[in-house]
Symmetry: C2
Subunit: 567 residues, 2 copies
């Protein structure tokens, strides 16, 4: 079917998307993104591009592949002794522990494309032996102590949105779920503009507390955490920090690592809380050493984060079309180095992503499109830049003015705030589309890195070449986190691929090309087990050995998230 | 002499300040601040305050104490074998090695008050056995390897401005002087806005290169490093980072730890250069682990720093008088949390420092003073706030406008930019006054910490009480580095004290009070050997053990700056 040169495409054709929640306790309910009752299907325009680029026809969207809507059989052996299980149960109580295969699978799998593929095929691999829901730090201390004595592995589940195999349990063991109980407010300090929460508090709860601080926290003003990763709704505050995540507004507010003031850990070597000074010159900071440790050094139980006065009324949205990627990059570089403060959100799409965005939003071929063409913004070359300024009123207004000035100087055409508003509205819901496309065997995954300005174009071209080496592949790229020294590059690739192994090989070739082209192995997805094999080549033996030394000290028996970070 | 109640003070009296350079090879030439030909003596107003507050009269400024202008005898034994010395000489060449007592003393002593007191008394203590001037990284590698093999201690001398006994050599060994040869530009990258230099490059050379980048670096624009510690003229770029220094413009540009993108180290366990991405999510960052390591983990040989477009034409200076400290603190807190960007320089003086500043600038008692009194700015209560905005023109102008608005709302009286301009002019030369006062037995020293907003007043009062427990003592306090979460408190104390031991006991009581009152042990002076005894109590055993584990890994024989950081 997929061999014909030109596939049948009927404009009226709409695939039968699944619009019903997955069966309870099914594989599908494990892998489905987000809210079980929520769906988002590709728009006509988007589906059209996919069919066109992947050389697919309507026929390819008539029969679903494996959709994984089968009950997870409760048949995986538990490789922990009865006495160990009893000891764990004694710590947290009966209702906070489970050895059901479904539960173990749920909390041991993330949202990488490969996770989803395996779950669709009902493959159960590298899951924990027991799921434990600790109630508080004291529970975690007892569990870590027990597991250290018995050499039982410990994994931590925050929101479960890892796309780097961060939750896999290659040696089984315990998975601690922090979001069940350890999700509470610990302290809010309006004078210091900090909030302290347990690590398992989820993004929306956190932001809601801050936005409604006068009511909910007795504060004088409203606040924001300033951290909005795409996984915002399904990720935990602790998860943001241990994986070094970045939010969509990071260019102004900073990445998760910049937002965390102090952290409290339970490790096999004891518990500690790092100092919460705004700055200090008392040697290397343990707060820094623990950031990004991905559960390999200990369990993050609570953390203190910076908060910012919430001033949504001052936000200004903007978007521009540039005639080519080079001009757009020059503009965002000038913005990032402009010394007038940063927009909170700033995004730049390469030509392929721009064209697809135009189709997704139904803009291609219309009057607006013709106008763009007339103004020299040709399909296949033009690039969309959009964003939002925030902060104190005059500050935000000035950022808006400066952005406009720089964009115009670089041949950017102002498109009003409309495309940005459209993106903003759907910014957390795009991952839902993946499940819909997966149902018809169309795979979507992303890999990303940070890069210096100097190396941006070279890396972009080299990695695209590797992505495109697979025929009929979409490769959309954007930058969305900006620094005076560089930015990130985020590659979204859409392919039809028959099996997991082929996909894995393909994905590895892209990771490898990023590293070879001089990108960081990750800008904000973390390392997990996906990037782990490249870590030593990337950092060098000497630097890996430093991380290993910290690990060996805090976790002498190697029970904390074994294999994570490549340690 | 100092027992009488009211000392004779004659308005026309001026002490005989020393205005001649110290003898070559003298103790005085070791301890004298800065340029040997440069002097700055206390103004009449300042001397008047000192006499008044310390209960001194003109008689106390007629006879000098020990001024240390004696040649350093070349008589200190060298506790290294001939063969070790020969091996070192073979590495760097004859002219780059010295065992002269004078040289060893010069590079083993910093600028703490106690250093100066001991040198005046011609005490030679804890100096290295040999001074070595490595020419490049390869020299350092060979030296570190040799010293590791032979268990010889290694100390690193950058600019020599340590005020925390950071350069002492309790076990003798080698002191590496980086400023002699390892002071070169490695690379400048205008696209990425970074500069890479050898660690021994001194502040003025660094800033001059950047300011004159079009001429000296072939750049399109002029740049600034944005880092101006009081020791700027006599400190090295590497020293800024390994001690976690802060510049006077840190509120906008960041502290040294924020400015460093990557570092290259030579350690007993090998050499490595950390990655130079603007951000990354590849686990805990070795760049962070090495920041602030004060030579205890290895030798920093080169580093890459952020640079900023230089826009001095947009700077706006301001100063305000507030009726009391509380109002002034509220204002600077609102500025720091105002979400309009930060002034580059911001300073707030407590009432005692404010009154002394008024006298130093000859303003007390004049028409301006009367006007201030009339406006409710009473002596003993009023507080000076001053600073400067920088950056893109409209950004800087808006910061200025917002600062003015906030200060006025909090009863601050705008004093024009004059006091700020006056401070700005003398900002690097005040340390010269210390030597002049020391000649008459008046001691000046400083201790400092960071503190959250919430704890500022409590800490300020508690520490002042301890400083003032010594009768006839001046205690001036200011904050000069601002964050949304808090600031620093910098205590300057001026006392007449008979001997080193009494001073040490006094100083220790102040350090202890800072720690007990909930301040960090240091905001930007570093740890050295002065704060080292408090480190474990401050951080807790668990966190100190993490630093010890890194140390044990990189420096298994404990040769790198033994005793530094309390490791």
């Amino acid at each position: 079917m997929t061999s014909s040169k030109k596939k049948r495409q009927n404009n009226d054709f709409t695939p039968q998307w699944i619009q019903t929640p997955p069966l309870e306790n099914s594989f599908r309910s494990v892998f489905k993104w987000g809210d079980r009752e929520k769906f988002k299907n590709p728009s006509k325009g988007f589906l059209h591009v996919i069919k066109q680029e992947l050389n697919l026809g309507d026929d390819d969207f008539t029969t679903m592949g494996t959709i994984g809507n089968r009950i997870v059989p409760d048949n995986m052996p538990v490789n922990l002794s009865e006495s160990d299980l009893e000891a764990l149960e004694k710590i947290v109580g009966r209702k906070n522990i489970s050895t059901l295969t479904y539960d173990r699978l749920t909390y041991s799998k993330g949202k990488a494309m490969e996770d989803l593929l395996r779950l669709r095929k009902q493959t159960i691999k590298e899951i924990c032996d027991v799921v434990v829901h600790p109630r508080h730090k004291a529970d975690v201390q007892k569990i870590v102590s027990l597991c250290h004595d018995k050499s039982i592995s410990i994994h931590v589940h925050g929101g479960g949105s890892s796309v780097t195999f961060g939750l896999d349990c290659p040696r089984g063991g315990v998975t601690l779920v922090l979001s069940t109980h350890m999700n509470k407010l610990v302290a809010f300090n309006e004078a210091n503009q900090t909030i302290t929460v347990e690590a398992g508090m989820m993004g929306p709860v956190y932001e809601d507390l801050l936005n409604n601080a006068p009511k909910k926290l007795g504060a004088e003003k409203s606040y924001t955490g300033g951290h909005f990763p795409q996984s915002f709704e399904f990720s935990s505050v602790g998860g943001w920090v241990v994986t070094l995540g970045s939010g969509q507004a990071s260019s102004l507010y900073g990445d998760a690592g910049d937002l965390v003031i102090s952290q409290e850990y339970v490790t096999p070597k004891g518990s500690f809380k790092t100092k919460d000074y705004p700055a200090a010159a008392t040697g290397p900071k343990v707060n820094d050493i623990m950031k990004g440790s991905e559960g390999c050094f200990g369990v993050l139980v609570s953390l203190t984060m910076k908060v910012f006065e919430s001033l949504p009324e001052n936000a200004r949205q903007f978007s521009f079309m540039f005639p080519d990627f080079e001009s757009a990059v020059i503009a965002v570089k000038q913005i990032s180095q402009g010394r007038f403060g940063m927009p909170s959100i700033l995004r730049i799409s390469d030509p392929e992503e721009t064209d697809i965005a135009m189709q997704m939003y139904g803009l291609e071929g219309g009057i607006g499109d013709k106008f763009l063409g007339f103004r020299g913004m040709k399909k296949g070359k033009r690039c969309l830049v959009m964003g939002q300024s925030d902060g104190e009123k005059s500050f935000s207004a000035n950022v808006f003015v400066q952005v406009k000035k720089i964009c115009k100087q670089n041949r950017g055409l102002y498109l009003t705030g409309y495309p940005m508003a459209k993106w903003y509205k759907g910014r957390f819901s795009d991952p839902y589309m993946r499940d819909a496309l997966n149902d018809y065997g169309v795979l979507i995954d992303t890999l990303e890195c940070s890069v210096t300005w100097e190396n941006l174009h070279s890396l972009h071209q080299k990695v695209r070449k590797v992505v495109k080496a697979n025929p009929h592949t979409i490769c959309m790229t954007h930058s969305s986190h900006f620094y005076a020294q560089g930015t990130n590059l985020y590659f979204i690739f859409i392919v039809k691929m028959p099996d997991v192994e082929a996909f894995r090989t393909y994905q590895q070739s892209i990771i490898d090309s990023i590293e070879v082209a001089g990108g960081s192995l990750s800008h904000h997805h973390g390392v997990g087990r996906m990037m782990a094999p490249w870590m030593e080549r990337h950092l060098g033996r000497e630097q890996m050995d430093i991380l290993r030394a910290v690990k060996a000290h805090l976790d002498p028996r190697g029970i904390m998230n074994p294999g994570g970070l490549g340690l």
